[in-house]
């Protein structure tokens, strides 16, 4: 197990290193002056020169790269060009919204998808299965901004259970903060839960054909017991893969939902930074997202090993 983790950690670091090089090269080394780009077409040459100086663009390439990456290790991401605040604070504020939102949405998706997928597989080719498959098809097909608007109409405008949008901040209290994230989390969870339920169902159906399920039945386990005790854990491997992908997506891909609910999330930050040509913010957020994806994949790998003993071979 120890060597497995070490091996994964090495590959994680290597991926991050490669990603940082690619981002840096695309943003700063390829032809085209970043400073000129940031200031737009009709910029004053003197202003461009001043910005270049401020961005350190006149230093050698290697030096700039080391400054940038080195900054990451000490938590210095530079100063946002448009907001005039440290990028670190910007990102930290947004993460406090995006991470809890993504976690809530994912938890919701898992809570819904697991039982639904298991029931569909256990009652395969029945009316129940057909209904579940139809519902999940619908869940994937419905655009989530539209579903979000329906939620607002029903629960904010109609029932007045939740506010229609905005985020009061965690200072107002954890429950109040979570309450304002519930509707967005539901809107984000619907398609994810639908996908996850379908993956769970098909992964389970695959394992139900395995010989060891028949062995379990021959021991006297009922069909349901065989599914619960033997099939589900074997089906978790493909399901974990999808969950990993979904979390990465939810972290930065919630931009439309963030807009519908006026949430200050990471998706909106990167969208605004791109629109305002704030390359300092873009560069750092992108590297951060890459790091998030890589770390999530690392966690998924660890989860695989926890599920499947064949993956945690002992070091000789």
């Amino acid at each position: 197990m120890g060597s497995f983790v070490a091996q994964r950690l090495v590959s994680l670091s290597a991926t991050l290193f490669a990603a940082s090089i690619v981002i840096f090269v695309v943003m700063e080394v390829l032809p085209g002056d970043p400073a000129a780009y940031m200031l737009g077409l009709n910029a004053d040459p003197a202003a461009v020169a001043a910005l270049s100086e401020q961005l350190g663009l006149n230093e050698p390439v290697l030096q700039r790269y080391l400054n940038w990456v080195g900054g990451f290790f000490v938590g210095d991401f530079g100063l946002s060009y448009t907001y005039r605040v440290p990028v670190r604070e910007l990102i930290a504020d947004r993460l406090w919204v995006s991470v809890p939102l993504a976690l809530m949405a994912l938890a919701l998706a898992i809570i819904i998808a697991f039982p639904v997928g298991i029931i569909a597989a256990a009652k395969r080719n029945s009316v129940v299965d057909a209904m579940i498959m139809g519902a999940t098809q619908l869940g994937i097909a419905i655009p989530n901004f539209w579903f979000a608007m329906l939620l607002v109409l029903a629960f904010s405008v109609g029932l007045r259970w939740f506010s229609a949008g905005g985020f009061p901040g965690w200072d107002a209290g954890i429950l109040i903060g979570m309450r304002s994230l519930i509707l967005p989390a539901v809107a984000l969870a619907l398609p994810q839960a639908s996908i996850l339920a379908r993956v769970m169902r098909s992964a389970l159906l695959d394992t139900l054909h395995e010989d060891f399920i028949r062995t379990a039945r021959a021991k006297g386990l009922s069909s349901g017991q065989a599914i619960r005790h033997h099939a589900v854990r074997n089906a978790l491997i493909p399901v974990m893969t999808i969950i990993g992908l979904q979390f990465s997506f939810l972290l930065a891909g919630a931009i439309i939902i963030e807009n519908v609910f006026f949430l200050p999330g990471l998706g909106r930050l990167i969208f605004q930074a791109i629109a305002q040509r704030d390359l300092i913010v873009v560069k750092s957020v992108v590297l951060l997202l890459v790091a998030a994806v890589v770390i999530v994949n690392f966690t998924v790998d660890l989860a695989y090993a926890a599920i499947d003993p064949r993956l945690r071979r002992r070091a000789p």
Binding site: S3, Q7, E210, D211, F212, T215, A218, K219, R233, R310
Partner: protein
């Protein structure tokens, strides 16, 4: 009183009738062998008794176990019977165990699901039973996972799960078919001992007449979903009534008649294949980042020759290195050391077009013909595949003609060229694979377990075909198999491998009659033999 009574059992799956009027009886402590080829319904008979049939099955007839009508029981009541009153052992030990659970958990589960015993008691019983099946706690603690065990050891775990509650009826469905002969002999001995100790009755399902004759007091022979003949083992074999039974028996010990066997004095010309000092190693265990990982020597300094027109058998158990050696000979893998001279040219040193030309002289037929055919291509294209090794490009008409000739040579129709592989049976597909190997007019064909997956009657036909082709075309075979009976039937000379080394080689008849090496002796002793089994059983009957 009989323990199990199956009366006029009929089974249909969907609309397809599978079993017709199957009746069987099994006495207390008795062993019943069910024999038949694939599709005869022997496995589904067993699954009907367990009521573990696939979806869409309809069953009629009655099944009574220990005086209790099983067909009247609810599914929940059947769950109580399974594992407690009747246990089942399956064919594939590799996939019959849940890879994510320890062997202790899986054996203990068979106990816990049936009653309110404490976890402690369940694990104690699991440990005791694993000891009984030859997996002592000192070497095989309950915390082992299936992937840490060999095939034979996994089958012992499966047996432990089936017998842990000492069921009155044990059903074993081809329990040793996936295992090596020496492992098979040990597992069969174990099974015999366990049912005797527990006073259980045994149903043994097998395609192998010799195994059944060794294990079973009574035998039922099945064909196309019906029992064609049944009775006490010795008298059934001594006077077989049904033509199918007689055919099955003849095919199981079939020796193809060859026009001539190559004599030792013949063939002084250069050998067609000359392998010298072949060494092959594989990395063992996970890749290490900063260390050289341990390597495993799969083939260790192996040399042998094949003369023109000679059939050489390569025999060994799994892990002996025979398939690794075959891959080297076929130039699919480069060995760590050694040379392979094919038709006077160095195969391993050859490159590019030269190797392509050499490859025409050596072709291969593998165990699973379906896996080696692209299902989307027609036979004409599949059989013509090795033509890309040809230097001179053939015209379409010539190519077609060669394909048709090859098809006819293996006993198929020229018109079969326009069909798809799924339209053929297993035996026919193996004929197609042989046609594909013949099309470049090779001097050597490597047959890697080429008849192992076939039923005995089909196997006899394919062996005849191979013998006939060898006579007519003077082609040599390297015949790789774990099945000594088949090797004896078709080869002139035999090479025995163990742990990557050749332990014995010589004229086939000589090696089989007077095996010199202890390993060869143990292989021969472990190989089931119908006559030997019948004689032993007869002696046992007379002694009583």
């Amino acid at each position: 009183m009989s323990l199990l009574q199956v009366d006029k059992l009929n089974l249909t799956i969907g609309r397809v009738p599978i079993l017709r009027q199957v009746s069987l009886t099994l006495g207390q402590g008795e062993a019943l062998g069910i024999v038949g080829e694939s599709g005869s319904g022997k496995s589904l008979t067993a699954l009907s008794i367990m009521r573990l049939l696939p979806h869409g099955s309809t069953v009629s007839g009655r099944i009574a176990l220990d005086g209790e009508e099983l067909s009247a029981l609810s599914e929940a009541e059947m769950c109580e019977r399974r594992g407690r009153a009747m246990g089942m052992i399956f064919q594939e030990p590799m996939s019959a165990l849940n890879p994510l659970k320890t062997i202790g958990d899986q054996v203990a589960e068979a106990v816990r699901v049936h009653g309110y015993v404490s976890p402690r008691e369940a694990y104690d019983l699991a440990q005791e039973t694993l000891n009984r099946v030859g997996l002592p706690a000192t070497r095989f603690p309950l915390s082992r996972y299936p992937h840490e065990l060999s095939g034979g050891q996994r089958q012992r775990v499966v047996i432990a799960m089936a017998i842990v509650l000492k069921p009155k009826l044990v059903i074993a469905d081809e329990p040793t078919t996936a295992l090596d002969v020496t492992t098979q002999a040990r597992i069969l001995d174990l099974l015999k001992r366990l049912v005797a100790e527990d006073g259980s009755s045994l149903i043994l399902i097998s395609h192998d007449l010799a195994i059944v004759a060794e294990m079973a007091d009574r035998i039922a022979i099945m064909k196309d979903g019906a029992v064609v003949e049944s009775g006490e083992t010795v008298s059934l074999f001594r006077a077989m009534q049904h033509p199918y039974s007689r055919m099955l028996r003849a095919a199981s010990t079939y020796v193809s008649r060859r026009q001539r066997r190559l004599q030792a004095s013949e063939g002084h010309d250069a050998p067609i294949l000359d392998a010298k000092g072949v060494v092959q190693e594989y990395r063992q265990g996970p890749r290490q980042l900063f260390r050289r990982s341990a390597s495993f020597r799969a083939v260790d300094d192996v040399g042998f020759t094949i003369r023109r027109g000679e059939n050489v058998g390569l025999v060994g158990e799994s892990g002996s290195g025979k398939s690794t050696l075959a891959r080297v000979v076929l130039a699919l893998d480069a060995p760590k050391a050694g040379t392979v001279i094919l038709d006077g040219a160095d195969l391993l040193e050859s490159r590019g077009p030269e190797r392509q030309a050499l490859r025409r002289h050596i072709q291969a037929v593998f165990q699973d013909p379906y896996g080696s055919f692209n299902p989307r291509h027609k036979v004409a294209r599949l059989v013509a595949e090795p033509f890309h090794l040809d230097e001179g490009k053939l015209s379409g008409a010539e190519r077609r003609q060669r394909v048709e000739e090859a098809l006819v040579a293996v006993g198929m129709q020229a018109s079969d060229a326009d069909k798809y592989p799924h339209e053929f049976s297993g035996g026919q597909r193996q004929r197609l694979a042989i046609a594909r190997a013949l099309i470049t007019q090779p001097s050597l064909i490597v047959l890697d377990e080429a008849v192992s997956a076939l039923d005995v009657s089909i196997r006899a036909q394919i062996l005849d075909l191979l013998a006939d082709l060898s006579d007519r075309l003077n082609v040599s075979y390297l015949f790789i198999s774990h099945d000594l009976t088949v090797v004896r039937a078709i080869t002139d000379r035999v090479v025995i491998m163990q742990d990557g080394r050749i332990v014995e080689q010589g004229e086939t008849e000589e090696v089989f009659a007077n095996p010199a090496h202890p390993y060869t002796q143990s292989l021969l002793a472990a190989t089931p033999n119908l006559e030997r089994a019948l004689a032993a059983r007869q002696a046992g009957l007379e002694a009583q």
